[in-house]
Amino acid sequence: MTLRRIMLFTRFERFWHWTQMVLIMILLFTGFSIHGFHDLLSFKTAVSWHTGSALILLLLWVFAIFWHITTGTWRHYVPTTNGLLKVAKFYAFGIFKGERHPYRKAYWRKHNPLQAISYLALKLFLFPAIWISGILYLLYSFWGGAESGDSLMWVAVIHTVFAFAIAAFVIIHIYLLTTGNSFKEHVMPMINGFDEVELSEAEEAYLEKDEPGHIQ
């Protein structure tokens, strides 16, 4: 096993991540405006940007899902209990004592078990919840009417509840970037794609022979 810098986040994954980041920020800001938490935007601007960003994000997700399936990248998110407790204990106690992170990134397992299960929950639960409620909200005039009573309020409230959860995720996500050696070191892999990973001899040989641009 050797520690090498390899291409861990390919170009599409980085494009997906940062585009999604920008869109989610716009959505949170405009969404909270639509919900009446702030009035920094006109309602028309907020709704137009919110709807437009949401439609672009949906399209991006279509591509991202396609990418996960066709490239097999989905395997990074298969949940595992192996080492989960260790990572959790690290963030609860070990980190304060200056211990080393217990997880070692692998070529086909770039997320630690806690990360993997968090991202899986985000992708399988939070994101679908926000876009299903969002589409219901957007298409209100097709199903809502005089008899639907409070249902639009419920859709709005549920949509907002999930927006709070995503906002909380964003906060934790950004905070965790500070838990490494440096914030920059933690962010760089998502910018240039390269990160240090422990490779098996076979993986190293494969990369050097077939993907020389993906290993440094």
């Binding site: 938490f37 709704v47 005039s141 005089a146 639009l152 309020m153």
Partner: protein, 567 residues
């Protein structure tokens, strides 16, 4: 040569004669102008258009008549009265009289088939001068007929129909009250030039804004008083005031929307189509509705942006008027918002008087107190009152009993709600009044306001006598004791449609203190739930977010402190 020369001199003579004729006509017009100004000075606040000349008649741009009425021999008679003119009209327009007599401008009576209520000016009590019934000697100056003074008027004589009040295109025709009234009032209508019946009869055409407006702009006793979206500023409006009637633009006349079928008009506030899902209908114009949708369709906004698409999603729940008439009384003419009859009847040296302490946008002074009517308040650029409206109005009629202790009485009340699919949010002008009622029987009253007799309020300033006479005249019971009751009335708003740039922005409603904040039964995005579980979930969400932030900050702080301790 000789013949030609003779013809030239003949033409010269003809030109001279017609020139002189024109000159005398112009001088005559000037004279009548001065006279009308003199009448104006007596009481500028009365200013019925019916009562004065139109300085500049509007042009109807859509006339496609195939007849020139100046060429008809039948109209060259020296007519001496209105019915004579009508008789001549009906010689050719054989069915017009019978057709017209079916319509509300003639009957002043309307039976609402859905509620069974008998409506129309002949029956109703309103929140302004309260009742035309029994006061026809004054009020019937706006009846499209000749000589309705009292019960004896013949509603079956088609020669009594007043054709020219609607069809006069000279701007010189006028109407005065059918009877003289008390001297304090009659003075306002004296000293007028006689009507030139033949000239008027020969210059008829489709009604233009000043024809309809002659009455409809002056409802409630003066310019703009009643409706707020109908006043004399609409005779020559600009685009900002009314995008359809804009004189420099489409220059539309009332009847372009209030389409006519055999002298019956579409669009009545007694039977409002609050939601038109039919839109433009089949090819060819719909002749039975005056709705916006009948021209603009049920999806009127262009599908060229996300916001426009969303706007079309509004039409099922929000009337076009709600966004496209941002405010009413925008043309420089004020509308009356408050009327307090309680203070009426004060005199100075035994004479009635007026105080004119309101100056409206066009510079005219409006009465804030009149002995004959009480105190008034006015409004301009008014934000309308909004409500869910299904097109139905319920009236407090003369025989409706109410409980004055249970708050203000709605003299007319609109029905509708968020959970009714036929209701939409509509704008209304709300009128607030204190008016006399029968304290014993708890009903509204008919007052005898106008007359030459001792019982008329406009003369004796005695409510007791006026109410007693008003009720007796109609064989209605009166307890003998009157009081004043607080009332509201509601007038659906549909005119003074602004250009699209001036339509309401989304925030006018979609915000916490928005225009619809008093409406209930639906969720309005942009306002955030203000009660119930929705409100609680918002609070929990915000707390959770704050908790997360505090959590990571705490986690970070402990890391920071312990790291330093280790070093």
């Amino acid at each position: 040569m000789f013949i030609i020369g003779n013809r030239v001199s003949f033409r010269l003579a003809l030109n001279l004669i017609s020139g002189l004729l024109l000159l005398s006509l112009a001088l005559g017009a000037q004279a009548t102008d001065e006279l009308s100004q003199a009448a104006h000075k007596i009481d500028a606040d009365m200013n019925f258009r019916l009562d004065k000349l139109v300085e500049k008649p509007t042009l109807r741009s859509d006339s496609n008549s195939t007849a020139d009425h100046t060429k008809f021999e039948e109209l060259k008679d020296p007519f001496m009265s209105g019915p004579e003119v009508t008789k001549a009209c009906l010689k050719c327009h054989t069915e017009a009289g019978q057709q017209f007599m079916k319509n509300i401008h003639w009957t002043w009576s309307y039976e609402n088939k859905k509620t069974g209520q008998l409506l129309g000016k002949k029956h109703l009590v309103n929140t302004f001068c309260t009742n035309s019934r029994g006061n026809e000697g004054m009020c019937a100056q706006c009846h499209a007929g000749y000589g309705w003074k009292d019960e004896s008027f013949d509603f079956n004589n088609e020669n009594n129909v007043d054709c020219v009040v609607c069809h006069d295109r000279t701007g010189t025709y006028y109407k005065t009250p059918p009877t003289k009234g008390n001297k304090s009032c009659s003075v306002m209508f004296e000293g007028k030039q006689p009507i030139q019946w033949s000239k008027v009869a020969q210059n008829v055409g489709l009604p233009a804004r000043e024809n309809c407006g002659g009455c409809h702009f002056y409802g409630g006793g003066g310019d703009g008083v009643k409706h707020g979206d109908l006043d004399s500023s609409l005779i020559h409006p600009n685009k900002e005031l009314d995008v359809h009637m804009d004189e420099a633009g489409p220059n539309m006349a009332c009847t372009n929307c209030h389409v006519t079928k055999k002298h019956v008009w579409a669009g009545s506030r007694y039977d409002v189509i609050a939601k038109d899902t039919e839109g433009t209908g089949k090819p060819g114009q719909r002749r039975d509705v005056a709705t916006c949708e009948s021209c603009h369709s049920a999806s009127p906004h262009p599908v060229n942006s996300l916001a426009s698409i969303k706007l079309n999603d509004h039409v099922d729940r929000v009337a076009c008027q709600t966004c496209h008439i941002p405010t009413i009384a925008r043309g420089g003419v004020a509308t009356k918002t408050d009327w307090d009859w309680r203070t009426a009847g004060k005199t100075k040296d035994g004479e009635g008087y007026k105080e004119k302490n309101y100056t409206q946008g066009n510079g005219e002074h409006r009465a804030t107190y009149k002995s004959i009517k009480g105190n008034f308040k006015y409004g301009e650029n008014l934000v309308p009152h909004y409500g869910w409206f299904d097109g139905q109005m319920i009236y407090t009629t003369i025989d409706t009993k109410f409980d004055p202790a249970s708050g203000p009485v709605d003299v007319n009340r609109y029905t509708g709600s968020a959970d009714d699919e036929n209701s939409r949010i509509w704008p209304f002008k709300q009128m607030h009044t204190f008016q006399p009622y029968d304290k014993g029987y708890n009903t509204l009253v008919y007052m005898h306001l106008w007359g030459e007799d001792q019982d008329a309020y406009w003369g004796n300033y005695d409510f007791g006598k006026a109410i007693k006479a008003g009720m007796e005249k109609n064989n209605l019971p009166y307890s003998g004791e009157y009081g004043f009751v607080e009332t509201y009335s509601y007038w659906p708003i549909t005119h003074m449609v602004a250009p699209k740039e001036d339509a309401l922005s989304c925030d006018e409603c979609h915000s916490k203190e928005g225009r619809l904040k008093d409406l209930e039964g639906f969720y309005l995005p942009g306002t955030s739930p203000d009660h119930g579980i929705g409100r609680w979930l918002d609070i929990i969400g915000l707390l959770a977010l704050a908790g997360t932030l505090l959590g990571v900050l705490g986690h970070g702080l402990i890391r920071f402190v312990l790291n330093r301790a280790r070093k």
